[in-house]
């Protein structure tokens, strides 16, 4: 027996399925990573117990967790130092990087003279410069901030220039036929057009700022998670080493999410804010 086809019922069913799929996608976006991490930790825990892997080689997750709890105050203190270095280095790379990019884009002689220097500055390994900074600026905050800056500003400059330069000629023609002034054209058309690319650079830069701060701490420091890692390493305190790594990861991820949220707020119209994975809106 065939039922009469009721198009309203079909619509309702499909609409409902869509909503259900959306809810499930949102839930799994949080749940799956947690489940995978938990499963890995469990496997690791069992493995290290069954195979009797010495703690100084690879500590079991349980011992890392107990360090995270027991030495929380130490981790937070060092984490705070690293956070300051990262934030200052990052802010400095924005404050320097974006005006530099504007100069490079709008003033060709400046671009011609500065660009080769800029590229050379990236070819020099930052780890090699770090000791020089220690000699010049000592063991305080400044050398770490400078190294974080030195690593992080480059993608900001490059992405900002690309964003500014990628505007279609037609939009500029349009602005000129509208009698739009250069300032208006910049703020109403060129800058908003460049924002997605600028945010791409900002997202790369924040992860690099974390790397820069740690590199600085490795070379010479009396505080910070990088310094803690070295100390733990020297004392063969591998659980503390891992706890330090967890701390750095948390800092890195939190900063990245902060920038991503800022991006979402600043350019809600852009594809990067609408979707993250292929075919799936978050």
């Amino acid at each position: 027996m065939t039922e009469p086809l009721d198009i309203e019922a079909v619509e309702a069913r499909l609409q409902e399925a869509l909503v259900r799929r959306a809810v499930r996608a949102r839930a799994t976006a949080v749940l799956y990573p947690i489940l995978v991490a938990a499963a890995l930790a469990l496997l690791w825990e069992i493995g290290s117990r069954v195979l009797h892997i010495p703690t100084f080689l690879v500590p079991a997750p349980s011992s890392v967790v107990s360090v995270l709890g027991g030495k929380a105050h130490v981790l937070v203190r060092h984490g705070w130092t690293s956070t300051q270095e990262i934030v200052l280095g990052y802010v400095l790379s924005i404050v320097v990087g974006i005006p530099l990019a504007l100069g490079i884009y709008f003033w060709p002689p400046f671009a011609r003279s500065v660009y080769p220097l800029l590229v050379s500055s990236q070819a020099v390994p930052k780890t090699a410069i770090a000791p020089v900074f220690v000699v010049w600026f000592g063991f305080g905050l400044l050398p770490k901030v400078l190294i974080a800056f030195l690593i992080a500003f480059f993608p900001i400059v490059i992405n900002t220039v690309i964003g500014l330069a990628s505007l279609e000629a037609e939009k500029i023609y349009l602005a000129r036929s509208m009698a739009m002034g250069p300032l208006s054209t910049f703020f109403k058309i060129r800058l908003p057009h460049a924002l997605p690319s600028i945010f791409g650079g900002l997202k790369i830069a924040i992860t690099l700022a974390v790397v820069g701060a740690v590199v600085g701490e490795f070379v010479g420091a009396d505080a910070g998670l990088g310094h803690l890692l070295l100390e733990a390493n020297g004392a063969m305190d591998t659980p503390l080493l891992f706890a330090g790594l967890v701390g750095l990861t948390v800092i890195g991820v939190v900063f990245f999410l902060l920038i991503e949220t800022a991006e979402r707020l600043a350019i809600p119209w852009h594809v990067s804010s609408r979707t993250t994975f292929k075919g799936e809106s978050l």
Partner: protein, 260 residues
């Protein structure tokens, strides 16, 4: 003064210097459009018709020759104009209404009057209810309608349109052509309409300027005497076909189109 041509193009040439030697894009092109006249420039790809429009708009310099608009030689971008490109050229971060109002903002025509005008225009082209949609939420035809509204909101003396319907599907094109005729009929702007569609040119125009391929020269200027308003069905009438046929013969003779 009114019988004087509003747009006059006099022996306009455009040559591009390239590594392989000079390339002639336009070769002594002369044409004119009276105030309120609808003139199409019809030609195959690469005949320099877009370049011609850009020079008339003052957005590209001429290599030789003279363009005057409203009696003044064009040496810098003219601003009493609305331009529609083949791409809608909308700003992704502005709603449909916001895109239309960009033109008004640029000219400091703000406030309720500009807003009311924008809404009226959008209504006239069937965009009511889509004012707050963003470009990515609109179909290709709707985006081009937004672009058309933006070109008209400041009530310019002249419209320059560069293959505005070239990227649209056949049915949407038909509708756009009908809508454009109606808007023009109500407002009587001087229109320079660049196209490679013979039917579109004959349907819309008072005069059709047929161009030759590379280098662009004026092959012939046809006065289209069909009564207005023209209807889509009119395209099947012998009078209409006589015009399109004439143009077809020109293209066949020039080798723009080949048979057999």
């Amino acid at each position: 003064m009114d019988d004087e041509a509003f747009v006059r193009v006099d022996r306009l040439s455009k040559v591009y210097a390239t590594r392989d030697g000079p390339v002639r894009a336009l070769d002594r092109v002369s044409l004119s459009a009276h105030r309120g006249e609808f003139v199409s420039i019809l030609g195959p790809s690469g005949c320099g018709k877009s370049t011609l429009m850009m020079i008339v708009a003052g957005l590209l310099p001429a290599s030789a020759g003279l363009v005057t608009v409203a009696g003044r030689p064009v040496t810098s971008p003219i601003t009493d104009v609305g331009i529609v490109f083949q791409n809608p050229v909308l700003l992704d971060w502005r709603s449909a209404l916001g895109n239309v109002l960009l033109q008004a903002e640029a000219r400091r025509l703000t406030g309720a009057a500009a807003l009311a005008r924008a809404r009226r225009l959008m209504e006239a082209v069937g965009l009511s209810g889509f004012e707050n949609r963003y470009p990515h939420e609109l179909s290709g035809g709707m985006r081009q309608r937004v672009s058309l509204c933006r070109a008209l909101i400041h009530d310019p003396a002249q419209l320059l349109m560069d293959e505005p319907f070239g990227a649209l599907d056949a049915l949407t094109r038909d509708q756009m052509v009908v809508d454009l005729q109606r808007l023009w009929n109500e407002r009587r702007k001087t229109v320079l309409f660049i196209t490679h569609s013979v039917a579109e040119a004959v349907f819309l125009s008072d005069r059709v300027v047929v161009m030759t391929p590379r280098p662009g020269r004026v092959e012939r200027v046809l006065d289209i005497g069909l009564p207005r308003p023209r209807t889509l069905a009119m395209r099947e009438t012998p009078e209409f076909i006589a015009y399109t046929r004439q143009i077809l013969e020109l293209f066949l003779a020039r080798g723009v189109l080949k048979e057999g």
